[in-house]
Amino acid sequence: MLLENSGGLELLCNSVKIHEVNINLEAEGNQKLTMKHLLSWVRTNLIKERPEMFMKGDTVRPGVLVLVNDCDWELSGQLDTTLEEKDVVVFISTLHGG
């Protein structure tokens, strides 16, 4: 699965934007992978600093757009979105500078 961070979120992961990851479902104790599981996996495995800049509660913090296969996750069911092999998930922090 391909994960991508931008809009400054990459700074939380040693400035690496694109992560190709392999999530072992059995090790995680789940049958299928949902966005909810993915978020906690990212928080544990990818985020190196200031996790509060990425998440609030069990979802992303306000001001972060989540795209699953190039589509706003609000259209696919947010935390309940089921993910499959080779899906592409993008996290984008909205910018405000100018």
Binding site: D72, H96, G97, G98
Partner: protein, 427 residues
Amino acid sequence: MDSNAVAETPSDIRREIESLEASKAQIEHRISSLQARLNDSNEEEQGKETHVDGQLSADMIYRYSRHLLLPLFGVEAQANLLRNSVLVIGAGGLGSPALLYLAACGVGRIGIVDHDVVELNNLHRQASAKQNHAFIIHTEAYIGRSKVESAAAACRAINSTVQIIEHKEAFRTSNALEIMSKYDVVVDATDNVPSRYMINDCCVVLGKPLVSGAALGLEGQLTVYNYNGGPCYRCLFPTPPPTSACQRCADSGVLGVVPGIIGCLQALEAIKVACAVGEPLSGRMLLFDALSARIRVTPLKLNLLPADARITSKEYNKRILKGEAHVLLDVRPSHHYKIISLPKSLNIPLASLDGRLPEISTALRNEEDNEKGSARSSPSLYVICRRGNDSQRAVQYLHNNGYASAKDIIGGLESWAHDVDPKFPTY
């Protein structure tokens, strides 16, 4: 060799440059204030000149000839532009390039809001040292002076036929609605979150389209809010981000050309909205990554309808399997429809929906006739598109035009492919 040159030391030369620069700045200031006066007094006259019998004047035809030659732009769009007004809030990294293009292309009236003065550290993205070659707006000569004044002078220098209004004040709740109400399109070129929420809310209250751009570091973002049924900033982000997540160019840095690109794109979107040409970036966001040279345009969520006017693609599938009498309206453009479509769907592109409503009535009647004798209620009407945004707009339109039972299929054909039929091709 030259006896005159021997006496001239570097410090003499520097002194002379300084005194020349000072007189140059004085002359420029005088020119810009005279131009402002000329603009004000010519305002009415210009109005006449622009629209004699709806025609452009000879000067305008010559000035804008390259626009007029574009089949998809042409005289009509140019005339729209000349009649339109755009408010640019912020004359910094985003506002500067946007303003130059808006002035050059002939927007009838341009307002500039900013309370800041020009500083040397702005100039890498907002200035060029030679005014005559100014692609970027502020110049060294204007350091310490108001950004609005400097930007207005540059705009007038490019196109003296455009009316430039200077608002040398911060955009505050106390003056926001009054200033904004005088313009047709708003360009948000500010650099902070509270301004962005306030500008958005004013646009929603006044019903103005908002072209919003942002840039930081090596990335930029662009979208059009509150336009043609598309979402607004607060619709997408009801909760403001924590202050710790709101980096500013002043703290985190920005590569000058990045806001330059986003600002130019803001001018482009403002022109499209003002002229009613093309497909403005509404309900979509453009993401620009300078380092990898990648531009991504992503659809944003849109929720125009109450829950009972929408069904999921899975639910629609159940209803087909039950044999429910219905008409499926596909509102994608016809060239999309030709790529792939669901069986027995009726294609009427969203853009031509209002002229083709009778076709829907006919389809519903035919469906009813087919079902005669089975004592069913009248057939249902479902609307689908590629991703579920246009179908919502179509359902909204149908509700207002006598088709109260029309329902949107959430997420469109993409959700059909994802949730119902994995073999259904997506594009």
